[in-house]
Every structure is written in C-alpha cells, then in structure tokens.
Amino acid sequence: MSNKLDSRKLRLGAFLAVMGPGIIAGLSDDDPAGITTYSQLGAQFGYQLLWTLGVSTIALILFQDLGARIGVVTRQGLVGLVRQKYGARSGMLSALALVLANIGTMTAEFAGIAAAGNLFGVSKYITVPLAGIVVSFLVLRGSFARVEKVFFLLASVFIAYVIAGFMAKPDWSAAAQGLLVPSMPLSRDALFIATATLGTTLAPWGLAFIQSYAVDKRLTKEDLKLLRVDVWTGSLLTGIIGFFVVITCAATLNGSGQTTINDAAQAAVALKPLAGTLAKELFAVGLIGAALLAASILPLSTAYAVTDLTGRPAALDDKVDEAPLFYATFAAITIVAASLVLIPGAPLIRILVLTQILNAILLLPLLIYMFGIARDGRLMGEYKASNRMLGVYAIIIGLIFLCVGTLLWFTFAG
C-alpha cells in the first residue's frame, strides 16, 4: 500500500527533476538575438515569413529530440562522438564550429545586455563587463543554481508578447496564411532574415547542450521519455513565443510603417499595446533576464562539450591545471564576446542578427554529423533513426543549405 504511494511520488519527482533542460534551452532560444530576429521578421515582412519560424520550430523539435536520444543512448557528448566516429579532423572541426557559433551567440547575449542598458541610460562600458564578471563568478563558484530561477523569471517576461500579441489585434487570417502557406520574396533581405530565424531557433549550442546535459546527468533510457516531453515542450514554447513576437511586431511596427529596427527602443515599441509607457522597461528586463540565463549556460556547456574531445568531459570541480582546455574555452568565449560588443560604435542590433546567420552556417557541419550518428546502428542500437526520419532530417539540412547558399550568393555574387 505504502509502496504504491511511494512509486507515484517517485514518478512525479522524477518528472519534475527531468523537467528542465529542454525548457531552459527553449527559453534561452528566446534570448536577445531570438527576440530581435523575430521582431525584425515581423516588422520587415509582416506575417508573410511566419512559416520560416514554423519550419525552424519543427527543425528545433526534431533535432533537439535527436540530440537527447544520442546523448542518452551513447552517453557521449556530440564533439567526442564525432571524434570517435569520424576521426581527429572532424572532431576538431565540430569543436571549432561549436566554439565559433557560441562566441557569436555569446556576443549576441552581451549585445542584448548593452542594448537593455541603453534603454535605462547606462553605458555598455559598465553593463557588459559587469555582466561578464557576474555571470562567470556565479557559474565558476557553482552558485548559478541559486540564481537560475531569478534569470528564468526575468526571461519569462517575454511571455508578455503572448498577451501583447492579442492586444495588438493582429490580422489572424493573414497570420494563419503566413504560417501555413510558404512564400518567399527573392530578395537578399528576406533570405537574410529567414536564415537568421533558422540560426537563432535551431542554435548549435542548444544541440550540444541537450546532449551534454543527458550525459552529465547520466540519464538512462528510462529517463528518455520524460526528457523528450521536456524537449518538445521547450521547443514548442520557443516557437509559440516567437510566433507572438512576430505577429505583435507585424501588427504594431509593420502596421504603422516601421519596417526596420535599428535599436532596442524601436523593438520595444511592439510591447506598447500591453505595457503602454512602460514598454521599454518591460522589454529591457526581458532582455537582461534572457541574456543572463543564456550567458550563464553558454560558455559552460561549450567548454564541457569541447573537453569531451580529450576523453572524459571536464567539470567544475576540476582545478584549472587539471582541465586547462575547459577553462580556456570558458574564458575565450566570455572575453572575446565581451570585447566585440565593447568596440566603440559596434552596431548592437546588427550584431544580434548577424551572429544568427553565423549560427545557421555553423549548424550545417554539426547537423550533418548528427545525421551520420543517427543512422549508425552500432552507436544507436534500437534507437537508430528510421529511413523516413532520416529523410526528414535530410530535408531540413537541405533547406538550411539552400538558405545559406542563396544568401551567400546574393551577398557576394548577386
């Protein structure tokens, strides 16, 4: 009798305990770069390109789900697994792709903090170094867990877009059409923002993060169901928030003829229907929360993934001389990213969107390696992807190729 009760309690406990990484990854996807990119998508093209967000969300769900499976089944991180399967060069390439993409994304987080600081009238030369120091300190001293919830709460301010979206009285039928009927103006601007949307939604760091998480927490196949629920929930949440950001901006900014976003204050205008004169403050708080949340996880998960190259992933309880690669990666990401934002006159909003293009480009090798691992029966056993699933993965990879390829063509040859 008491046994039954215990088992129920345990199951609920297990569920609550496993709820997490997917949602963290999801909410961190709605980081400053994500919000800015989605805002730009809505402001510039109205409802027309909503479908690119839909496709990105489906891609996010499928590849996060694959990453979770790979992590649980092989119990290895992505980079280590690539080295094992494809050799030294591929291992190094995947590590470099991840580090580069994450330096980009980290730069975007700092740019978000700088932009939010500007809204409050505080110089980036104060906010960015401060954020870098605070985040590194919290993470390296292991006290991140205690403030995680605070960041999480701040980041969830962006849920305000869901309410703002309704209050802005968007054109729902145009939104439905934009979401379900793909159409693509063949212009560099359209390709640019579509590629950035792919890159910010299906970010490389999220893929490495979910896999490292499963390995680090030693999740087993029994935990996989719950992990997948979490991953799906988190990914859908990303898509839903993104959807409302786009329609809010389509209804407010695009509707009033404001089609370009040059600074955070312009993006914040979208929240006016909800927050009125406090729109700027609300937007800034969301930016700071989301940026700090992502900036806390990013350098750490990258450092973790990179050390997987050498055998055992390093951890925070290792000393600096025991895990030089771990700390070097951590420091490199934080310092390079902060320095880039601190360059005088650096265009913050431009950085936010450009880094997401970099993400999309660097996604390609990582997704191809994941594809190769997914179809490897020796590694994946019963979890080997079916041919139909592999076909879907291939279509998504092909689509990103197409976006990146035509964008580069438009940029350099067109």
Binding site: D216, R218, D223
Partner: protein, 433 residues
Amino acid sequence: MTKTATPAKAVLTRKGIQGSLVSVAGIIGRPVKDQDGKDLGKLLDFVVRHGGETYPPVSGLIVRVAGRRAYIDGARIAKLTNDEITLSSAKVNLTEYQRRTGEQLLDGDVLDHQIVDVNGLRVVRTSDLYLAPLDKEIRLVGVDVSFRSFVRRIFPGTFGRKPGVDQVIDWASVASLADDGGVVRTTATREALSKLRPADIADIIEDLEGREQSALIELLDPDLAADALEEMEDDELQGLLRGISDERAAELLSHMEPDESAEVLRDLDDEHSESILAQMAPAMAKQLRRLVEFDETHAGGIMTTHMLIVKESDTVSDALKLLVEHRERDISDGVTVVDSKGKLLDHIQIIELIAAKPSEKLETLVKAPFPTAVGIETSLDDVIEEFSNNRGSSVIVVDEKGKPVGRILADDIIDAMVPAESSGFAQGSGALS
C-alpha cells in the same frame, strides 16, 4: 584521482622497438603496394585478434581495392613503414571484409575511442596507436593519449603523420574496452585492474560511457566488480545494470552484500528485477526476494542477512574458525549465539572469544550486556533510537519467534538516514545545472 606509478615501459624500452614504431593514425589512408611496388589500394584499417595476449598481433588489413573493403591476411605484410605497406604477393581476395567475433579494428574501434589508463586511473581518448614487430609478428605495442598528438593529426602531409614517440605509453597499461561481440580480455589489463581500489574503479566506471562501461564490468573479477558497484551512486548503478546482461547482473548482485543488492533490486522495475533474480542460485534469489519485500523504512528493509550464527553448545574455537573463514566480510566482528531452538541469546565480540579458552562452550560467555534486538517491522526511527540509547555497533533483527534473521550495522543506519537524493538532473558532476 592521482597518477600513481609511471607507465610500464617494458616493451617500449626494448632495443630497436623505439625506432620501428609505426603510427596507426599516420598510415591509415596510405598506399598498400605489392612486391613490385605497384599500388594495390589504400589502407583502411588494421584488424587485430585478441587471444589473451598482452600485445595483440595484427591479423589482417582492410584495404580499399576497386571500391571494396578487401581483407588481406596479416601474414602477407612484407614491410611496414610510416608511409606505406608492402605485401609479399600481389594476390588480393576481393571479398568484402566481414567482422568476426574477437576481432577489433584499430581505426574503427580503438582510435579516438575511450580507454582506461590504468596507471593514471583516468578515462582518455586514444590519439594514436603504435605497431612494432615483436616475436615474429607485427603487434600493437603502444598507445598515445596526448592532446598534442590529437592536434598533430589535424595537419596534412608528413607533419600530421609523424609519430610523437616520446608520448607513447605501453599498451599493457591501458584497458581497451571497445570491441564488437566479445570482450577484450588481456591478462595484463585484468591484472592491472585488480590492483585498483574499488572506489577508484567506481570512479572509472562512472567516467565511462555506454558500451565501454558494460565492457569494463564484464572484464572485472566479480568480487571486485561487486565491491566497486557498492561504491557507486544509486542511479548510476541502475543505469549500469540496464546495460549488462541479466546473467552478469545476477552474478554481481550475488557478490554484493545482500542488503545492498536488495536495495538495488527494490529500485528496479519489477520485470527487470524478476529477470535478474531468475538467473541467480535459488537460495540467493529466495533470500533477496524476502529482503526486497521489506519496506526500507523498517528494520527488515535495511538489515543485512549476513551474520555468523553459532549454537550455545558450540565451542569458542568453532566460533573463531567460522570467523576466520569469513574474515573478508565486514560483518565478521563477532558471532551471534542461539539456543537449541534457534532463538537469539547473545552477540559475542571477537575480542571476548580471543580472551576465552578455545575449548570452552559458548554458553559460558552468554551474559550481559545483551545485544539490542528489534523486530522486522520495527520502524527506522525506533531502530535509530535503539542505536543511540545503547551506543552499540549493531542491533540484531529477530523474527516473531525470536530467531535472528539479520543485523543492522552502523553504516546501514547512516545509509538509511542520509536522504536519498532525487534522481535525474539533481545529480551529475555539476558541470551543467
């Protein structure tokens, strides 16, 4: 984990070996030629067979010939350098290579895979492997786990293929666990592993991943493996048991302390724990089934059933003999004395036995202070209270008829009192929150 002894360089220091080492990472992809110097194809992999030898011989090559993965017998290698392989004949059998049990592919299964550095007590990835002629065959003698060699391999041309001989450690000092079908059982790695402390092995097991983890468990002596398993975190252990055969799981659990095994079984789902129990000796399975039934919040659920029971009519020397037989168990601090009907009389410490005359009957030693006895259904809180009241090192659990069925030692109490950490994300190395 600290580095202990320096790597055994038995073979590597032998005269001539250093100069003749060939880097596996360097030669993969290089040409394979016939005796006239004509290109036959590109080297894809080396096949080694494990017959319990410390330095496994290369039994064959896999060569890309006319678009196929052809197998060439190792005996036909005439010359092996860092740049190419020359065969003693030009005949090539064009059938596709099929893996056989006990075969390991050096590039496919070992290079860049995780191995255990037994001397350094750590899990590393192989950056390179080294072959050398030894005892009339080409054998795998060394392994390089340095990051520098890994980085070197990224460069093209001869620089990328240059072996960094100074960083090579002896093949005998690592445990390679990557294999298909069978498990690599080299006597050297087994011996090396058997010298480690169970807690170190538990650390290594936790650092390994998936297939390598199960392979290490298969490699260990069951007693040592069981000791290591007792040191592991609960959920880690659960995951591990799911990865190995029921037969092996049954063997390991039989070697663990029964109360620990019961705790593990209790946490597994019913189907899995039944299929493991089915593989055990009937008496052991019966005992464990009973223990599993007990609730963890009661005396029966935390006790160990290992105890040395002697009759009051036995002599002191009988009791001492029994203790010597069980000296390796941590329950061997004394004997539990029962009367002719099996009822508990006393627990006699080893020191009292040593002080007594060997021929003396145990009944003469039965006197106060008597041990604390509790029933199977006694709640954990009451057991703890008994402990603190009596300051003893153990309490004895008796059934309804007063017969002793188990003991609760101080460490069982500590285990029971430390709240079980929640499973899943609450644990882990803490690198990711």
